[in-house]
Structures are given as structure tokens and as C-alpha cells.
């Protein structure tokens, strides 16, 4: 009999903690698919390491991630002293942290080094010197960390737990780094790639259950983006339900919303055309879908909502794009419709976030070509794995044809591990699924 999702997840977590606390390896790598409880794991591992008396440092990639983590830690264990090492800029940390009495904030490591846990960004940790190495570190979002950042902080800890999602966006460099391609320590590659190249024997664990993605999405996201490391959803079919209170007006936006409410996915397809990045019609269509979603009073029923379900307000909706100018155009369009409070951002900035419903402007919509940027697997994965209930993709028609005209043409470099699946294949897999849930404008 297959174990329940809860049991499978508990067992995986127990194994990870056993490796971390009692294992002999210097490092443990944990791969976590979208919404698989990575933050929960980090908080739990941090508390257990602290309880075991190990001095612990936590490395996250952005200040927002650090603040979020410190807030979670302090909420889970209000008595645990936590240090927040921050920069000397004005407003260096989120004011939320001031609520926690046990959280000490400082720009100097000397004030914090004695605390059981100190949390900061990789960039800030790199400046820390003249302190004894920490016994243990937790590196969060390790797949988004660049190898050179790990090089700068690696001297600070003896052992480490690396946690991250291999399917999200890879780190990048703003200048060419081809000259180091194939070297184990290529500074532009991800920290985990370098770590595993130099320490091939490290235990690698996986969180097997996505608690965020609904049953309707887990299979597709798992197949398209994690073909060799499948995961499943924590909820079954029918555990999550999206109900639209008001009836459909018969328009394309309403029809695609009905399909998405029923199946978890929807594709709103505009006539084929080559357009500028901020395609006005696509922008209007995205804004229209968001407006109708709010107007029709969507209610989300899930395992954690009360009997009557929870209304899907603007704060539970996100719009995802590939480019910043597209996000700005959609923000402007929403403002013009009087819609406020909806998160509109690029894939890079939506990483790690969770919403009930997402509306995605397809990265290839209206493009005459498919560049490596737009084909990147992680970009599409982030955009299509932020939702708890449903995801509506808005796009110009003709993307399968575009993909056929632009097969991946990136050079293959000696010594560089080829990542599977490639973006081309992932795009095809997602589109094949969406094709059956299509509404044409």
C-alpha cells in the first residue's frame, strides 16, 4: 500500500533531520519541489540543531527571505534567541521583526555571534570575518545561490544543510562566463552544482509531496519539470474546489475562468500576431481575466478553509510575466480598471510565493523567436507553480509552431551537466495539456 502523502512527507523529513543531526557527511542536499514545505523544514531543522546545542548560521539569498525566515522561526519558538545580521543601509530589515522580543538585530556580527542562530543574506555573510566557524549552517534556496557566493561563505561553517528547488530559475551572471564552463567550480553556476561536483558522496534527499499545488497541477508540473524526481500533491482530487459565485456572462474571460475553476487550468488564446513585449491586447486580456475573477466572487474551498470556503480577494491573486515592462503594463491596466492589491510581478520575483489563483502571460506570447531566456525551464516552472487552486495562461496562438521553428540551439559544453528537461520540452508538455482547456478570444 502506498503511504499517505502525510506519512511520506514525515518519513522524508525524519530522514533529512537524522542525516543532518547524526550523519557523518559534511553536507546534506534537499531538493524540494514547489510548495513542498521547504520553509517548514528549515524552521524545524534550525530548532532541532539549536536544541542539540549546535551553533547555527542560516544563509538565505534575499533580505525578504531572511526576514520571512526569522519571522517564522520566532513565531514557532518565541523563546529562541535569533540574530538578524543586516546591512548598514537605511531600513535594512522588515519592521515585523521588531514584534519578536527574542530577535536581536545588528549590522555587526560581534553583537550576534554568541546567539544559537544567526540569519543573514549570502552577500552580508561574505563580509563576516574574524569569528570562529559555525558548527552548522543551513543554506536556503541553494539552487538560486551562485557558486561564487558559496565560495565566499564556505569558510564560515563546518557542516551544512542545503535546501532548494532545482526546478526554479538558475542563477545568472550579467557578463559572459563561457571561459569557465565545464569547470567544477564555474563561478556562474549554482552552489549545489559546485558542491556536488566536489563532494559527490553527499546524501541527497527529496521532499516528495507538494502541499501547495492542487491535485490538478501536481501531475503536470511534476511530469513537465521534474520528470525523473516525481512528486505528488498533498491533497486529492476534489479536496480543493474553486467556486465562482456569479454566473458567467458568456465572454471569453468568463469561459476560461469556468474551465480553470473546474479543471485547475485554463488557456485564453488570442489570435496569432507578432507583437511588442507589452502586447496591448494581451495585457488587456490578462487584466480582464483578473477583473472578472474578482467580480464573480471566487470562493476557494480547501483542506484548511472553513466550511463556507474563503473568498479569493486581490491579495490571493497574482499575475506573472517574463519581463518587468510587461508587469508594469499590466499593473497600469489593472489600475485603470480600478483593481488594486493584486500582485503583478516577474517570475524572478514570484519565486517562493504562493497564491490561490494565478494569471500568467505566457513568456513566448507574440514573440517572433524563442530565445534561451524565454525558453528557460525554471521561468515557466515558477509561473505555473505558484497557485493553490487554478492557473490561467494568456497567450497569443501559434506557440507550438514557434517552438518547432526554434529548437534549443544552446551550445553543448564539455563537462557541463545537461539539465533535463530542457525548456523546449517543458514548454511542449505544458502546452499539450493546456490545448484541451483552451478558450479562443
Amino acid at each position: 500500500m502506498t503511504p499517505t502523502p502525510g506519512d511520506a512527507a514525515t518519513r522524508a523529513t525524519d530522514e533529512i533531520l537524522a542525516d543532518t543531526l547524526h550523519g557523518t557527511a559534511r553536507g546534506v542536499v534537499v531538493d524540494s519541489p514547489p510548495g513542498a514545505g521547504k520553509s517548514t523544514l528549515v524552521v524545524r531543522a534550525a530548532r532541532e540543531l539549536a536544541a542539540a546545542g549546535r551553533r547555527l548560521m542560516i544563509v538565505a539569498q534575499t533580505n525578504a527571505q531572511v526576514d520571512d525566515l526569522v519571522d517564522r522561526l520566532a513565531t514557532a519558538d518565541p523563546g529562541l534567541p535569533v540574530g538578524r545580521l543586516h546591512s548598514s543601509d537605511p531600513h535594512p530589515y522588515d519592521r515585523v521583526l521588531d514584534r519578536h522580543a527574542a530577535v536581536r538585530k545588528s549590522a555587526k556580527i560581534g553583537d550576534l555571534a554568541e546567539l544559537p542562530i544567526v540569519v543573514s543574506t549570502a552577500a552580508k555573510w561574505a563580509w563576516v570575518k574574524d569569528v570562529d566557524p559555525w558548527q552548522h549552517a543551513i543554506v536556503d534556496e541553494a539552487y538560486q545561490m551562485r557558486s561564487d557566493q558559496l565560495l565566499a561563505v564556505g569558510r564560515l561553517f563546518e557542516r551544512a544543510l542545503f535546501v532548494g528547488d532545482p526546478g526554479q530559475l538558475d542563477p545568472f551572471a550579467i557578463v559572459g562566463s563561457e571561459q569557465w564552463a565545464g569547470l567544477t567550480y564555474d563561478p556562474s553556476t549554482s552552489a549545489v552544482t559546485t558542491l556536488l561536483a566536489h563532494n559527490p558522496g553527499l546524501p541527497q534527499r527529496r521532499l516528495p509531496v507538494s502541499w501547495r499545488l492542487p491535485h490538478s497541477a501536481a501531475r503536470l508540473v511534476s511530469d513537465a519539470f521534474y520528470p525523473y524526481t516525481a512528486f505528488r500533491s498533498g491533497t486529492g482530487p476534489g479536496d480543493r474546489r474553486l467556486a465562482l459565485t456569479a454566473a458567467s456572462d458568456g465572454g471569453a474571460a468568463d469561459r476560461v475562468l469556468d474551465i480553470a475553476a473546474e479543471t485547475g487550468w485554463g488557456l485564453l488564446e488570442l489570435p496569432p500576431q507578432h507583437t511588442p513585449r507589452t502586447d496591448p491586447e494581451a495585457v488587456t486580456a490578462v487584466a480582464g481575466v483578473v477583473r472578472r475573477l474578482l467580480e464573480r466572487g471566487a470562493v476557494a474551498h480547501s483542506e484548511r478553509s472553513a466550511d463556507g470556503g474563503e473568498p479569493v480577494g486581490p491579495d490571493r491573486i497574482a499575475v506573472g510575466t517574463a519581463h518587468r515592462d510587461q508587469a508594469a503594463a499590466i499593473r497600469a491596466a489593472l489600475a485603470a480598471l480600478g483593481v488594486r492589491g493584486v500582485t503583478v510581478d516577474t517570475a524572478n520575483r514570484l519565486q517562493g510565493r504562493e497564491f490561490d489563483v494565478t494569471v500568467v502571460l505566457h513568456p513566448l506570447s507574440g514573440r517572433p523567436d524563442a530565445t534561451a531566456f524565454h525558453l528557460e525551464t525554471g521561468r515557466l516552472c515558477v509561473l505555473t507553480s505558484r497557485h493553490r487552486h487554478a492557473c490561467v495562461v494568456v497567450s497569443r496562438a501559434g506557440i507550438p509552431e514557434l517552438l518547432d521553428e526554434y529548437p534549443s540551439a544552446e551550445p553543448v559544453r564539455l563537462g557541463v551537466e545537461v539539465k533535463f528537461p530542457d525548456g523546449w520540452e517543458a514548454h511542449q508538455a505544458v502546452l499539450a495539456h493546456l490545448a484541451e482547456l483552451r478558450v479562443r478570444m
Binding site: 557558486s147 561564487d148 565560495l151 557578463v175 567544477t184 567550480y185 566536489h198 515592462d325 489600475a335
Partner: protein, 506 residues
């Protein structure tokens, strides 16, 4: 490619002429550059056919390899190349300034030699030549070496390697490709790949038929404008060079001179084209920040001079982890500062940043004095700006501008007008947070007045320097530990320069 560059390319197609995309010159151009036009033999890596080299447009030095597969002839060529290039490179080594850096008086060369090649593959070829020479041993260094290199060849290899490596730093000007230089300042109506044909690129800029330049052939099937190299045209190889080489191999008198003449016919048009490019670029005034970037190049040149004088070994084949990370970090900083510097130097470049929502220009409509809170209040005036641009602004976003003194002033966006998303001008309220001196009243010239035209950027003007990386000997376990301590069965460590390299496999 920015929207303005796309527009310029479209306009170039319509006009049949290249359109300027810069109003100033964004790279340093030496008063006495060394032009190097290399040619390579088809089918063999790093087998030079010949080169035209020199600092005098009217007196190029022609160097040829009459049989490129003959290693002795190749060494002879490299030795003659060293005789021309090394005196030029070394002529800048002893004219020095002193500069204060971190409280220390350091010596830096007052100027540095600059090498110009026709195209980007030319830069790669310089790198390849450097790679093929720097590990060679001379008879003096190692009397037992079976094929000793001529005396100064390894040294030239180290210089060329340094120049090619420096060329990877954005904005650096020690080694430049003419096609890149021209492409930075003019947009043509052809693709960027086609711009690598120097002759066609020049035809777009000065007028002429680029297609005729690229494809035109004479009655015997030879290109009227030979490619900028280092690869040669196959028709030239097959119909002319192959026959001449066969005659040379057969020992027919005069065949060597014939090859020289043939190679000169391929090199001379490119040589002239590079100098024509120099003339075109000299007509543009250099950007204000160009000398600062050139200072970086002078330091780079001085650093290599010092390493040579200290008797350090040649650059290793591969960077170690720390060196690679350090180079990447410094190039990323250089890229950020170059992008900012070009925009600040050039209104046309700034216009494309404004179009992209990364900067905005406008007129001051109001200034309201305010002070910060705290024990020692500082001026934090509010400035109201009216702009036609559409920057991506949210309250709290930082904006930067350059003061008349050259210093940078930073401000924080307080609010954008309610009509921020509609058409027409919008108002932006900013709070100035720096650049006003230490006193309680802002320094002269640091506070704008109503009616002033200001331009704020959302990108910083200088790049922050990163934290220090560990020494190679302190490489952490995550990166395999120190290179020398890597286990025998582990990943291969970065190789130290091999002191007794006999052969150098490419």
C-alpha cells in the same frame, strides 16, 4: 537590443546608411595604437598564415608564413611578430605616474599600449596565439627542450594572453575589435552577425553598397573586399594560395615572394579599413568617463608588467576557483559601471534607458525644505518633478543623479502622481537623501530650484565592490579545498603552470 537601437536599425535600412547610436566615443582610443591584422591557415588551429602589423598607417609590417604547416617557419613568424609587437608593448612600461590608493603611493604607467584588431574573431585569435606561445620554453630557459622557441616568443605569448583576458572586461580598451567599436557607435541595417564584416560595416557608415562589398567578386572569382580575417576566403585558398604553396613546396624560385604578395593583397584592404575606422572614431569626442575606465586599463597593464618583472610563471591554463570568482565579480562590476557611465556620458544612451523605464528626466516644479528626525537633523528636502517619461516607480525606490560637481546625489521616491498610469506628464515627488554636505543647510548647488531640468536614474552610478574572496590556499571544502590538496581520485584541481612543459596541446 534596446528599442532605440532597433529603431536606428530600421531607419538605417530605410536610409541605406548607418545611423549613429552614440553622441560621444565610449571607448578610449590611443593616439598611437598598434593595429594587428592576423590571417590563419584553414583547417589547422593556431597556424598563422601572416599578419600586417604596426603603428604607422602608411608603413605596415608584413609578416608571412610561406608554408603554415612548417613549424620552423611558424616560429620564425612568431619571432618576427615579437620583434614588432614587444618593443611597442614595452615602450610604455617606464613612463610612470604615482597614484594614491588606500593610503599607499603606487606606481602606475602614465599610458598603456593599445592593440586594435579588425573583428571579434581577431580577438579570439590573439588569445589563441597567446595560449600557443606562453608555455613554450626557450633554449635559455631549458637547454634540454627538444624544440626551443625563439627567445622572446613565450614573453609575447604572455602579453597577448593578458591582453585577450583583459578584453573580456566590459569597457576595457587594451585590445579592441574595430567591428565592435564601430558597432557600438553606429547601427546598420544588417544583422549583428553581418556587422562582423568590417568592409560591409564601413560601407554602411561612409556610404557605399554593403552587399557589393560583401559579395562582389572579380572576373577570376576573387572577392573584391577580402574578409577581415583571421579566416581567409575559400576561393582565395583554393585557386591562388594552394597553387602558390605547391610551387613553394616544389622549390620554384620566386614562389615565396609570390605568396607574400598574395597575402599582402588579402591583408592590405583590412589594414586600411581598420585605420579608416580609427579616423571615423577620432571624429567623436570621448565620453567624460572614458579616461576613468582607461585608468583601469593602465592599472591592468602595470600589473602585468610587474608580474613579468617579478619573474612570475605564465598565466595558468585554467583559473582556480578564487581567481574565476574574482574575475567574474570584477567584470560584473565593470559591466554595471559601463552601462551607467555610458548613459551618463551620452544623452542618446540615456534616452534609451528612459524609454526602458530605468531613468526619467523632467522639470522641477517645486522644492520644499524638510529635515530628518533624530538628534542631528539633516536636510531632506522634497523635490517635485514633472516628467513625460514613464519610469517604473514605487514609493521607496531610490533614484540617483549627477551634481554639477560630478558627485552623485541619491533621492528616494516619496510618491508618484495619481495620474501616474495615464497618458501625459506625471509628477514625481522625491526626497533628497545625500549629496548635500555635512551641514544643516544643503551645500551650494546641491539643491535644485524650480525650473531646473534634472535627470534621475533608477540604477546606481557605481557598482559596490563585493566581499573579499578567500585565498586559493583557503578554498573551502564546498569547492574542493585548496587546489594543491585535492585528492588523487577527486575532481582535477586547477592546473598550476607546468614548469617543464615540452609540448602544448591545444
Amino acid at each position: 537590443m534596446s528599442l532605440l537601437t532597433t529603431l536606428a536599425r530600421a531607419e538605417a535600412v530605410r536610409a541605406g546608411r548607418a545611423q549613429p547610436v552614440a553622441t560621444v566615443r565610449h571607448r578610449h582610443l590611443s593616439g598611437r595604437p598598434l593595429v594587428l591584422v592576423p590571417l590563419t591557415a584553414a583547417g589547422e588551429a593556431a597556424a598563422p598564415l601572416g599578419a600586417m602589423v604596426g603603428t604607422d598607417r602608411d608603413a605596415p609590417v608584413l609578416l608571412t608564413v610561406r608554408q603554415p604547416r612548417d613549424r620552423d617557419l611558424r616560429f620564425g613568424f612568431l619571432a618576427r611578430l615579437a620583434d614588432v609587437v614587444l618593443p611597442y608593448l614595452e615602450s610604455y612600461a617606464d613612463d610612470v605616474d604615482t597614484e594614491l590608493r588606500k593610503g599607499e603611493e603606487l606606481e602606475v604607467c602614465a599610458d598603456a599600449p593599445q592593440i586594435l584588431v579588425p573583428s571579434v574573431p581577431g580577438v579570439d585569435y590573439v588569445r589563441l596565439l597567446g595560449r600557443s606561445m606562453r608555455f613554450r620554453r626557450t633554449a635559455e630557459e631549458d637547454p634540454d627542450t627538444p624544440f626551443p622557441a625563439p627567445p622572446r616568443v613565450p614573453l609575447l605569448g604572455r602579453w597577448l594572453t593578458h591582453y585577450a583576458e583583459r578584453a573580456r572586461t566590459p569597457g576595457s580598451s587594451l585590445l579592441l575589435a574595430m567591428t565592435e567599436l564601430l558597432g557600438r557607435h553606429w547601427a546598420t541595417g544588417q544583422s549583428q552577425l553581418e556587422d562582423q564584416h568590417l568592409g560591409a560595416l564601413l560601407a554602411w557608415i561612409r556610404g557605399g553598397d554593403p552587399e557589393e562589398v560583401e559579395r562582389g567578386r572579380d572576373a577570376s572569382g576573387q572577392l573584391l573586399t577580402p574578409p577581415a580575417g583571421p579566416a581567409t576566403d575559400p576561393a582565395f585558398d583554393n585557386r591562388l594560395l594552394a597553387k602558390a604553396t605547391a610551387r613553394f613546396d616544389a622549390g620554384i624560385p620566386g614562389s615565396g615572394d609570390e605568396i607574400d604578395a598574395l597575402l599582402a593583397s588579402q591583408l592590405r584592404p583590412t589594414w586600411d579599413a581598420v585605420w579608416e575606422g580609427v579616423t571615423l572614431l577620432r571624429e567623436l569626442a570621448p565620453g567624460t568617463r572614458v579616461p576613468d575606465r582607461w585608468t583601469g586599463d593602465r592599472w591592468s597593464y602595470t600589473g602585468h608588467r610587474d608580474r613579468l618583472r617579478a619573474g612570475e610563471p605564465p598565466q595558468p591554463r585554467r583559473d582556480d576557483a578564487t581567481t574565476a570568482a574574482r574575475k567574474l565579480a570584477s567584470r560584473e562590476r565593470a559591466q554595471a559601471e559601463l552601462a551607467a557611465g555610458e548613459a551618463l556620458d551620452d544623452p542618446l544612451v540615456m534616452a534609451s534607458r528612459r524609454l526602458a523605464g530605468e531613468a526619467f528626466a523632467g522639470t522641477v516644479t517645486g522644492v520644499e525644505m524638510a529635515m530628518s528626525e533624530g538628534r542631528s537633523p539633516r536636510p531632506r528636502p522634497l523635490v517635485v518633478l514633472e516628467t513625460d517619461d514613464e519610469p517604473y516607480l514605487d514609493p521607496g525606490v531610490k533614484a540617483h543623479r549627477v551634481l554639477a560637481t560630478g558627485k552623485t546625489q541619491t533621492a528616494e521616491v516619496v510618491e508618484t502622481g495619481a495620474d501616474a498610469d495615464g497618458p501625459g506628464p506625471r509628477t514625481v515627488v522625491l526626497r533628497l537623501t545625500s549629496g548635500m554636505g555635512r551641514g544643516k543647510t544643503p551645500e551650494e548647488g546641491s539643491l535644485p530650484e524650480p525650473g531646473d531640468a534634472l535627470c534621475f536614474t533608477l540604477f546606481e552610478h557605481t557598482a559596490r565592490s563585493g566581499a573579499k574572496l578567500p585565498d586559493p590556499d583557503d578554498t573551502p571544502w564546498t569547492h574542493g579545498g585548496p587546489p594543491s590538496a585535492a585528492p588523487a581520485d577527486g575532481p582535477r584541481p586547477a592546473e598550476a603552470p607546468d614548469p617543464v612543459t615540452a609540448e602544448d596541446f591545444l
